[in-house]
């Protein structure tokens, strides 16, 4: 969990891109919020 992500700066989108890279690097095809500790406790930005 980080304090706090701001939609105005595209911070959710930026994080989403990083996680995509990590999942791809791990050989996965999909990614979910649970694969990042950063999102714990925040509103779901994925919806």
């Amino acid at each position: 969990m980080v304090t706090a992500l701001d939609d105005d700066y595209g911070e959710y989108e930026g994080l989403r891109k990083v996680i995509k890279v990590l999942v791809k690097r791990a050989g996965g095809r999909e990614f979910y919020p649970a694969q990042s500790t950063v999102l714990d406790g925040l509103n779901d930005p994925w919806s």
């Binding site: 969990m1 992500l5 911070e11 891109k17 990083v18 990590l22």
Partner: protein, 186 residues
């Protein structure tokens, strides 16, 4: 006074006990200032052996002590303005003496894992990571976005909990991590 004595006893115990195989240390002390004494008191041979280090602070009294301390926190605020600081925090505020923690970490050059958990937010500007570090867990620490990016660039696994930026935005951090060759978990 009693706490200073406790820290000294702890140091003596760590030095005198036969701990030649000790590579993992999980240590929580009342305040950040205590780590100055620890850093001064432990010999290089002890610090050089450590591969895994977990450091925590226990005194969360007073304003901005810890999100979970009072149970009244919201997403935006700790809501602990009216909770009095301990006599220890009045004398040695955790934020002011953050460097105590970082000086001890600096004494441990062979760490592979570092877990660092503050109560009052610590000033992370003096945190220098050991060269071999792979896994970093940080909680209740404030960073400049560009400095945090530099730190995270060198590790493979990162756990962030209640970490704040003093300048910059998180997107500055994400943009750097996007190109990190070593990162595998965030």
């Amino acid at each position: 006074m009693m706490l200073a004595s406790l820290t000294q006893r702890l140091i003596s115990g760590l030095i005198t006990a036969d701990l030649k195989g000790l590579t993992t240390l999980d240590l929580k002390l009342p305040c950040t200032h205590d780590f100055f004494d620890l850093s001064k008191g432990l010999p290089d041979t002890f610090c050089n052996r450590l591969w895994h280090l977990s450091i925590g602070i226990t005194d969360a009294t007073g304003e901005n002590g810890d999100r979970h301390y009072t149970g009244h926190a919201t997403k935006e605020r700790d809501n602990d303005d009216h909770y009095p600081a301990s006599s220890l925090q009045k004398k040695y505020p955790n934020f002011v003496y953050s460097n105590g923690v970082f000086s001890f970490i600096g004494r441990c050059p062979n760490l592979l894992t570092l877990e660092l958990s503050g109560t009052h937010y610590l000033d992370g500007s003096a945190l220098v990571l050991p060269e071999l570090l792979k896994t970093l867990t940080i909680r209740r620490i404030r960073f400049d976005a560009s400095y945090l990016s530099t730190l995270l660039w060198q590790v493979s696994v990162v756990y962030l909990d209640d970490v704040e930026l003093t300048t910059g935005v998180w997107n500055d951090v994400w943009k750097v991590l996007l190109d990190s060759p070593s990162l595998t978990y965030l």
